[in-house]
Assembly symmetry: C2
Homo-oligomer: 334 residues x 2
């Protein structure tokens, strides 16, 4: 791991200057701040390094770095994490990676410079070096919702396989064979696991393997609009669509509505993530309930175990399926 | 190093005036602001005083304490604040008061113990002592969305009066006279301002003054369900309802749907706060667009001004009205 000496050497400044910049002192010039910051980024230097864990006193503050604070799944997870933390005598400071690896890296540096006892993170999947240095610096670390290969820390995630299976089995039972899939980014663990599950279970159930039925977004609304438009424009004729998260489901609904007011009812939507407003749409949207509350709560429990020196295990949280087809029939006159 | 006394002496103003100017208070004259700012620059005075600069070095980290992270208004505000902060070289650590004064107090203590350069807060309205002591400690402070009487810091908020007026005028134009109001908590500035505006504009427009049409919640979903149920159970017969925030609008929709599938279409809903999914409901919900993005962005701009020693002013952000009645007609067959 890079030391402060490496940073000073690369930046071409004295050790004292590097130290002042990295500890946030205002007694530094803009030029040396820029050079030291660039060198620290290039070397993936984590502020204060291993010495930090020796020096650090407990603050009872946890960090939580979520992927997208505007995604209701993560704001629910954050809320649950905070309640569990409070119950255990901790407070939680939140940061938002905004589905962006560079922003994730910036917040990892911010948390490294703050006084936190441990960090919960839903990793973007592309910044192994920095995550490794944080773990190696002795900062307690737990993954929530997402994981990355090659970093072995306790991970609290969803049973993506079970969730996709429940959705496809339900659609199959309702007679659907042409089922579109609006997936998440394959580089993110949840995107990749849901896609793999879709392909395997689709084949098990004998659903159409038409490749034009599959498109991918980035777990955000606008990408759901675009993915659904792409499927409709491809010439495929889906009778149903499974969207891999709640925000993309909103986008899918918009794309179907814009295509034709009637499409919203004709193509049946199923969502991975159940959102509050799904029962108010006509017809209501059935969904895989992805238990953000349990993930947030268990994530904090695991992190506090690590902080307080107890063993912590990874855990897959069960999903459940919310079938709103009866509500659709009841509300048909609305 | 220059003290605030030196600045006051050079500017020829009292210590109190110098302090008010340097902490971004609006209770100062343009003349004294110009003199104090010039004196501070001449003396190279570090914003917020010697005690602070000894105790705390710059970290380029801002704190943002929102009222409810699960409320889309605040997650949008947080997202915008973070983007603006990033543009200016800062990162943002978020905390969630969860509409709870005790939790707000806990997070004020957390932020006080962390290394932040300044704090944006949407105050709950009941913890003046702690907010005052944070301000008096020299921590740059800016209010967003909400304010509290008796603490004078720059405040970026919504034009609640204009928003309520646009909603009631629109409902009046569509022939509604029995308009229910599901308000927020009167102890919170936004709750109180929207209620006051409702009562005054209702009377101006000659809408029904039946007191049974009015109920209050706490800006969260479940309270919207309960408030709407209370109005319906009172014997009042509203043809429309104005809900004072987006989450309560969800609750209002649920209560109308549970009362009778048909009520959702019969009682016209208008929402203060426009949410992403309103266009997918049948009929679509028209709304006052409460510009969380502008509030978050201007809040960070004002806070950075205070941190960097420039004067910062309070600002009311304009609302706009999103009329979805045409979509309702177009989507009637969906």
């Amino acid at each position: 791991m890079a030391t402060i000496k490496d940073v000073a050497a690369l930046a071409g400044v004295s050790l004292g200057t590097a130290s002042r910049v990295l500890s946030g002192s205002s007694q530094t010039s803009p030029d040396s701040r820029a050079r030291v910051t660039a060198a620290a980024e290039q070397l993936n230097y984590i502020a204060n390094g291993p010495a930090r864990s020796l020096r650090r006193s407990r603050t009872d503050v946890l960090g939580l770095l979520v992927s997208d604070i505007r995604n209701p799944f993560f704001s629910e997870l954050a809320h649950a994490a905070e309640r569990e933390a409070q119950r255990r005598g901790y407070t939680v400071l939140l940061a938002n990676a905004d589905e962006d690896a560079a922003q994730e890296a910036a917040y990892l540096r911010t948390f490294a410079s703050q006084r936190i006892d441990g960090l919960l993170i839903a990793p973007q999947g592309s910044d192994l070096t920095q995550l490794r240095s944080m773990r190696d610096s002795g900062l307690p670390l737990v993954f929530v919702d997402r994981s990355v290969d090659g970093i072995d820390v306790p991970t609290i995630s969803t049973d993506n396989d079970e969730g996709v299976r429940s959705a496809l089995t339900w659609l199959h039972g309702r007679g659907h064979r042409e089922v579109a899939f609006v997936g998440g980014p394959p580089a993110v663990s949840t995107g990749s696991e849901r896609r793999t599950a879709f392909l395997r279970i689709r084949d098990e159930l004998g659903l159409s393997a038409d490749p034009r039925l599959i498109a991918h977004g980035d777990f955000r609304t606008e990408s759901g609009v675009e993915a659904m438009r792409a499927v409709l424009a491809s010439g495929a004729r889906p009778t149903a669509v499974l969207s891999a998260d709640g925000l993309m489901t909103l986008g899918v609904g918009r794309a179907l509505r814009e295509e034709s007011a009637r499409q919203l009812g004709v193509v049946e939507i199923v969502s991975f993530d159940d959102l509050d407003w799904f029962s108010l749409v006509s017809p209501p949207i059935s969904a895989v309930r992805n238990d953000a509350t349990a993930i947030g709560r268990l994530g904090v429990a695991a992190l506090v175990d690590v902080i307080e020196g107890r063993p912590a295990a990874s855990h897959r949280v069960a999903t459940s399926f919310v079938d709103r087809s009866a509500e659709a029939a009841a509300g048909a006159g609305a």
